[in-house]
Symmetry: D3
Subunit: 250 residues, 6 copies
């Protein structure tokens, strides 16, 4: 049930039965020479919608730009400064708490969002408390980082082993191939090296110096739409479980 595809009376009715909502959050950033820039937002969106449909849960609009300062040395990468992303999440949540939403499961597609997302939660808790808002004390947040669910990881371990990597991973590239089968990029040359290096990095210039084509530790040539389809089902199930846990807890 996508909020964007419902009417306001629909939402009013929904709020009579549930205060939960799923929020897709991703990023718009380079994913190596063969990965699509929207990978993190589009994967999170698809999984969130998939879970929302099966659960009958409301799914909010996608936060499609994330905190990706470290990817900014590659053309096309976009980022919010952390302070802007906090404001975005704050306004997103506060708009919904005003209507009565109380439990927010973020389905996240980008590791770089996690610190700022958690910072935003506490910015909101502090503001609700300070302003004496009716939602203070009642709002609960959770996050499902879809790539790190236990079963997604188990699948990745078995299918891709060490070549899964941690950016432009086989898992996310597979999912995109499943979701957007017509957008496989045409590479001028094979990935070189096949498995990308994996370094600690510091800021955007250093990131590029140590990961020249943008990938971290992955060989996305192992990805396939077939893997993607199976991963999608697993990730949706794990997001559903996370939502049910968040919304049924007392």
């Amino acid at each position: 049930m996508r909020l964007q595809l419902r009417t306001w009376p629909d939402v009013e009715g929904y709020l009579g039965t549930s205060t939960g909502i799923i929020v897709p959050i991703g990023s718009t950033e380079q994913h190596g020479p063969s990965g699509l820039i929207g990978t993190d937002a589009l994967c999170a969106e698809a999984i969130a919608i998939g879970a929302g449909e099966r659960l009958g849960a409301m799914v909010g609009p996608t936060i499609n730009i994330g905190m990706a300062v470290h990817h900014m040395a590659f053309a096309g990468s976009m980022t919010y400064r952390p302070s802007t992303l906090i404001a975005v999440i704050r306004d997103y949540v506060m708009a919904l708490t005003a209507h009565g939403f109380r439990r927010f499961l973020f389905v996240n597609g980008h590791g770089g969002n996690i610190p700022t997302l958690q910072s935003a939660w506490y910015e909101i808790h502090a503001e609700l408390r300070q302003s004496g808002d009716a939602a203070a004390g009642a709002v609960r947040f959770g996050v499902q980082n879809w790539w790190s669910g236990a079963q997604v990881k188990a699948y990745a371990d078995e299918a891709f082993g060490a070549a899964e990597g941690s950016h432009a991973t086989c898992t996310e590239i597979s999912l995109m191939q499943f979701l957007y089968p017509d957008h496989a990029p045409v590479l001028a040359a094979p990935l070189d090296p096949a498995v990308a290096p994996h370094h600690t990095f510091h800021g955007p210039e250093h990131y590029r110096a140590v990961h020249p084509d943008g990938r971290i530790g992955s060989d996305p040539s192992l990805a396939s739409a077939d893997h993607g389809g199976r991963l999608f089902d697993i990730a949706v199930m794990e997001a559903m479980a996370a939502y049910e846990k968040l919304t049924t807890a007392e």
Copy 2:
């Protein structure tokens, strides 16, 4: 050409030929009892992508929440505070100017965004100038409010006359019926009154007091997917013309 569905080398290549980009911006807000909450974002997105495809122009991710404080008395409406939306647009643009983008056509789906969008442009001009950025003096912004293009308005005048209204309009409802044919809401009762009232409003409470079901001046029962399809083509052509004007001006 959607930025989200391209790789970073694609964008690098594109920047060798063009510094232009189309930015869809909409809103997530009530559109009366029969209009979908995502209307403004989804219409803008579709028109932007349509224009981008025909032009071979890059289209950025959609800013899907806008400035809609005045709609907040209806369940499910979301809004950025103007200050947050300025930060969002600022970060969006600054990320892209860092890569070399210089001309930004916003395809806008929500009248309430216009003041804040224009404020953001000058916030950016001021910051670029103060920081001595390479883009200072070179960045240009334009906006295509798709519903107010001359030909879209001419079509609306002829097809809907005074019942077009100014919120939850026949035009935008038609476009959504064309774009999302499976999401026609089931209304419990006919729209009452058929043509909604049209008042000056002040803040969210007053808005609802004078427009009880959310519509302003419209009778969206006149909308149809067929109208929507024709409006889509017109709106895309008008967006294309605006882009060409913005990007070819010296």
Copy 3:
């Protein structure tokens, strides 16, 4: 009745009879080679005070710097960034709502202020609502852009025709000649060209490139103090009407 020239018991008494106030807002920016930099603030101030005197309405202090980033390539132009102007208007209004003022008519002298002014109104509506302020739902804003009142425009059309222009206009220069008769600038040479060019502009550098002496589309040599006096009366009447409409609406 200027707030600045009253005592606090006067204001307390006034609030027993009215919650309305007129707020002059202008700008401090170049007005071409023959126009005074304070034109927008001083015209708005004079009209606001004129209307306030005839109405017995309170007139607040003038917001004399506006959003004029686009004029910054000319010496002496000043500007608030949009975010600062939002804060200024927010604090201005919130100080007065704390005393019981509820209806704010801005008499505006500068087109460039309009987007930020409207953004500020919604920033305030959002904050009042979030903080549960007593003024939430009761505050109403209006703006009278004095140069675009129907009768001012009719006068300008007849008196100046196409040479009225849109910056450093005959109308505003006339009004300043009426208000400040001793400050006519001594021009070294005739205006060249007599009627200034009129272009779309983008940021301060581009503005100056296409409007080299600062004017847009005007021939202010047609201005006169005599025109100014008549325009003053018309503009005051139109501001009075706007105030009465705002304050008497339910």
Copy 4:
């Protein structure tokens, strides 16, 4: 020479001879039962303009709202939050440094502005330095608190002694009677007590609790336009001296 009453070529010419400017800053706040709310802004403005005329120095527009949170329990008082006033002063100064102004004498009419004014100076120094601005290292600020000049104080001591007080003082009331002779308020009753109490205060509620009519330590019935005229001349001379000292220092 008021910036508002000059053209941009005038300012360009002026900058060829001087980088100095005088900035009037005041407040809009209660001044007891017989003092006008605009006292602090209007006194500062008159003295600044007086000094500017005699010096041939540029005088900027008046910052007519100051930091007056502590006066907010009296109707009609206005205030900027300190953070807003810092932004106002920052933008004011940065607009002028962009044109080449370097030395800023603030003629101040309100003691409560001093801390925030000084805070703003360092906010600006920090930003200029961080952004590598051409004005970094060259900008200098000074303030002339007109009521505390040595000769103004000597006059006040002799004319009013202990009844001068520290808010709604005899000195400022005299100056306003000189400047605005037609706006003497009609008091319903004599000031009671004749000399107001003088306490330490904490926040707006406490301020009013200990200074019930708004005055601090003054008996403004001793004020007169005649005193005001003499004080004006003294204050202008002291402001001139401060400006010359600031602008001629190496």
Copy 5:
């Protein structure tokens, strides 16, 4: 080598040999009925100074308040909002980069700081890049969360097992007993239950509801100054190793 206990020529000399600095960051928040409120700041400070002395590395002043919104339902807990903590870390780092410091090891005493600390790093990277600062591309950040070093954890596992817990842990209480032997609190009654519960929590009210005395999962009665002394040595060694890794990497 504590920055606070050095002169500016000392620092100038130091910068000729190293651009590294150790930054203690902690929190001021409840640590259960027997733990001291300053635990997180004082432990981090002691370990940072210990490592700095042995390394000859500069140690900055302690950031003694952290992000602890979730502890605010217990008397005496303090917190910065995440946005404030980002500003604090930003200013702290930018002051030092202006002098030439480039590598910053944060020795952290509070898990709740981690997201905001990482957010701050990217806020800084973004600002350095945008402003064209000399430090852009050269600044590197690292964090040593002292309680989660491999050897500290191994010690805790062996000494305390499952009773270590995750707030008001045996480890940190031991360290405080070693560092502040005279400040053992006198408890009115034994800890009840001996081992505290361990729940997911949401905001300050919920935190207290599920952890009524403030502890999470720990039995700090197992702590001792003797354990604390051994843990101190281990934690200092691990911080030293982290600093050397950060400062010697190319």
Copy 6:
């Protein structure tokens, strides 16, 4: 009674008897060739703790970085921008008002903090009032600038005369020698000149140009730990008196 060395039940008990707290605030900035960079924070901290112990009053954690933009041309100096310091003080105070603290005595070690500290107080008053906080109208702030207490100044006059100076003063250097006897710097050469110059300064570059070694007007070679010990006792007594006055006033 240091907050950092107490448990939350201790604080709960304390709040049953008192709502007062002492807040040490200093700076981390150059103090000339022989003064330690932490002088202002460490002196304020020691005096605050000394007063707190004798009074049985709570002492909060030290704000150890202050507003020291003007010292930034000397290596090792740190500063918060004024806007950041306002946020720091705001969050510090608001965390404590949430628990019931109402009276805040700042023991300040740095003159440069005073304007921003006072600005912060009014930022807080404004926010408490706007949000309808329970603490609005009840919070009171005071500051004891330890170096300017009447008896400290009398001691300095007698002991050091004109060589006391106003930065890197004999008084503060003496206090540091008393507090940190092992950290006397080894100077390569005598102070030159013995008594430092004393100028008006403007921003960090100008400060250094007119005070080349960082001192203002002082000859700290006159300082001694013996003087420091006596000054400590005097400063503690004056801080105690200030606290008692602030907390016992109605």
